[in-house]
């Protein structure tokens, strides 16, 4: 199989608009890498440059240690699955999947073998004679994936393949693509705006914003050690809470003062340089523990504004008087709207951000 390496890749469109800036990504053999970010962050452009559908303005792209900047798409030995399926409407499912092989002059037997194999993997054997218009959305996307599989390429590229499917189908196809990756042991690069897809499928996630890579790491690395406020807020659902607070020192203890509550932060030497300044206090909803009573200096207190019972857990929307935040609590906790609620914080999981740079303060 193959590795993909981006060295200082940049894309500037004709009008001078910069879509991607200095992207350095290494995709190892058999790795599932997800590029994730909000729309317009340059993730699709990056993928299209890897595919060869967009010219590379700056930097070097290597597939299998061979520089391919000027190699046309058909000679890069890649296959791509598009967001809108991009099936050939006048061909049957079989011909759609066989098209690439026919062009590459494979023998009839080989083509039939590969197509049938792929159809079996994707469970679309009985659809081979149909035309795309007679298929449902999920079936169409399966055909599009099948068209990629039969080629047995070095690298699979996926451009938001699930975003046109309904929610239930999306979850199912997500699992199928993951198991496909395990089965084919192929290098895959996957673009999505959905952080859940990124978290559930990736070996390695690349978070992009405004054409710049924010952080590269495993899903848990990104979740637990985000490098900045953007990554912290983008990964995870419901997202991380951000509360602006002043850092103070009282009797040798580092405290954060949100305005409506004050809490002591244990082992907080890393916050010493910020004494007298503001920081952004980041805490995930599940790292807050509900308490029935207030304990000065140890609890956050806030008013309950919305209660979302989800069955297995409850999401509480809270308001401190200055900031809103969300807490995930056990389903048996009895709270009511407008009631006061108190939370202790797992400070080992908390992340503090510099208010100006929004970078995480290193512990």
């Amino acid at each position: 199989m193959a590795t993909v390496e981006l060295k200082g890749i940049g894309k500037v469109y004709d009008g001078g608009v910069r879509a991607v800036d200095n992207a350095n990504i290494t995709v190892n053999d058999k790795e599932f890498v997800v590029l994730v970010g909000p729309s317009g962050c340059g993730k699709s452009t990056t993928l299209r440059m890897i595919a060869g559908l967009e010219d590379i303005t700056e930097g070097e792209l290597y597939i299998d240690n061979k520089m391919v900047n000027d190699v046309p798409p058909k000679d890069r030995d890649i296959a791509m699955v598009f967001q809108n399926y991009a099936l050939y409407p006048h061909m049957t499912v079989y011909d759609n999947m066989a098209f690439g092989l026919k062009i590459r002059k494979f023998s009839k037997e080989e083509i039939a073998k590969r197509v049938n194999e792929a159809a079996k993997i994707l469970d679309i054997e009985e659809l081979l004679d149909r035309k795309p218009k007679a298929l449902s959305g999920g079936q169409r996307q399966r055909v599009a994936v099948g068209r990629a599989i039969v080629r047995q390429p070095k690298v699979f590229l996926f451009d938001e393949p699930l975003s046109n499917l309904d929610a239930k189908l999306r979850v199912q196809m997500r699992a199928e693509i993951s198991s496909l990756h395990n089965r084919l042991k192929a290098t895959m690069i996957y673009v999505t705006h959905d952080q859940v897809e990124a978290m559930t499928m990736a070996d390695k996630i690349v978070v992009l914003k405004d054409g710049l890579i924010q952080q590269i790491g495993s899903p848990l690395e990104l979740y637990n050690q985000p490098v900045n406020k953007f990554v912290a807020g983008f990964i995870g659902s419901p997202p991380m809470n951000f509360l602006q607070a002043a850092v103070t020192e009282e009797g040798g203890k580092i405290m954060i003062d949100e305005g409506s509550f004050k809490m002591a932060v244990p082992d907080a030497d890393y916050l010493k340089p910020y004494v007298g300044k503001n920081v952004i206090f980041g805490i995930r909803p599940e790292d807050l523990t509900y308490q029935a009573t207030e304990e000065a200096g140890k609890t956050m207190n806030a008013n309950v504004t919305v209660i979302e019972p989800l069955g297995a857990e409850i999401h509480l929307y809270l308001y401190t008087g200055k900031h809103q935040f969300i807490a995930r609590v056990a389903p048996d906790i009895a709270v009511e709207v407008d009631q006061k609620a108190y939370f202790t914080v797992d400070f080992s999981k908390a992340v503090f951000f510099d208010t100006e740079t929004e970078l995480a303060i290193k512990k």
């Binding site: 058909k74 399926y85 991009a86 050939y88 006048h90 098209f99």
Partner: protein, 308 residues
């Protein structure tokens, strides 16, 4: 209650406007059909009656109908030659069969050649990036407004030097040239709406531009190709000016249907009852072509390809 009433009145409004639209359409259809019907009736009338009374009298007077006009057009016209020795002797003129073949020889290539060129050009303008793409395309579209009459004489003079006058190649090229701007424009409009990702998918699958064109673009453009083919076929088949200018050098052996019909009615237009039957005979082929190509106007050819 009031809501229900409102909807009802809306409905009635819709109905009455539907009736009005249908009435207008019916009126237009009758308006356009009456002259054609008149020609049809005339084509079956005896020569003397045609000149004596209007076609609408054909049903009231008892002169009856005849197939003689069709016979004369198909088999060749009777000329009477006066000679001193034995009075009038009948002579057959040229028949339509030859003219039909000539017209087909002119029309079919004059439809196929511009479609081929224009489809390639439209693909290029729509999907290839080359310097001067926009100005070139605008230039071609601008050529739509140039009337072909002003180019007849310059082209004729060039043909003279190239010895293309009175040849099929000459008239094919002339019709191709006159038809290309519209063809390119029409096909460009269609081909440029084919979703980009289908082409990109083909490129990644390993297709060259040529393969993409032949295997994807052409089959997907069939409705546009068929509609242009009908346009061009009717135009070339019914054309007389271009044929007269570029083919008359070859004489009667290369006369097309329209030119042959012109000769049928006589130098002073005295035999125009023959024109009516000739017109109906010449309509047969274009009508067949239209009906045959109509089935290619398929809606939703792109269905299932991409999700919008």
């Amino acid at each position: 209650m009031s809501k229900v009433k409102k909807r009802k009145s809306l409905n009635r409004e819709g109905q009455s406007s539907g009736i009005a639209v249908n009435a207008v359409l019916l009126f237009l259809v009758i308006l356009w059909t009456i002259p054609t019907f008149g020609i049809l009736v005339t084509s079956f009338r005896v020569k003397d009656n045609v000149f004596a009374t209007g076609w609408w009298k054909a049903f009231s007077d008892d002169s009856g109908f005849t197939l003689e006009n069709y016979g004369q057009v198909l088999a060749g016209r009777d000329y009477k030659l006066k000679s001193d020795t034995n009075g009038n002797s009948p002579v057959k003129g040229d028949n339509m069969a030859g003219a039909f073949l000539n017209s087909i020889s002119v029309t079919v290539p004059a439809v196929v050649i511009p479609i081929l060129i224009a489809a390639f050009a439209a693909y290029g303008f729509a999907w290839l990036d080359f310097p001067g793409r926009r100005p070139l395309f605008i230039l071609i579209v601008a050529l739509l407004v140039v009337p072909l009459q002003i180019s007849l004489i310059p082209v004729l003079r060039d043909y003279q030097k190239l010895k293309l006058n009175g040849t099929y190649l000459g008239i094919w090229l002339a019709h191709t040239g006159f038809g290309l701007p519209l063809a390119t424009y029409l096909l460009f409009n269609y081909i440029s709406t084919i979703p980009r990702s289908i082409l990109e998918s083909a490129f990644i699958d390993g297709a060259s531009h040529f393969t993409t064109f032949v295997r994807l673009i052409l089959p997907l453009s069939v409705p546009a190709l068929a509609s242009f083919a009908i346009f061009q076929f009717l135009w070339v088949w019914n054309d007389m000016l271009v044929a007269l200018v570029f083919l008359s050098g070859a004489g009667a052996k290369m006369q097309v249907v329209t030119v042959r019909l012109l000769n049928l009615i006589g130098s002073r237009g005295q035999d125009w009852q023959l024109l009516t039957s000739g017109a109906f005979i010449s309509m047969i082929l274009p009508l067949t072509v239209f009906l045959a190509l109509q089935k290619f106007f398929i809606r939703g050819l792109m269905a299932g390809s991409v999700k919008e």
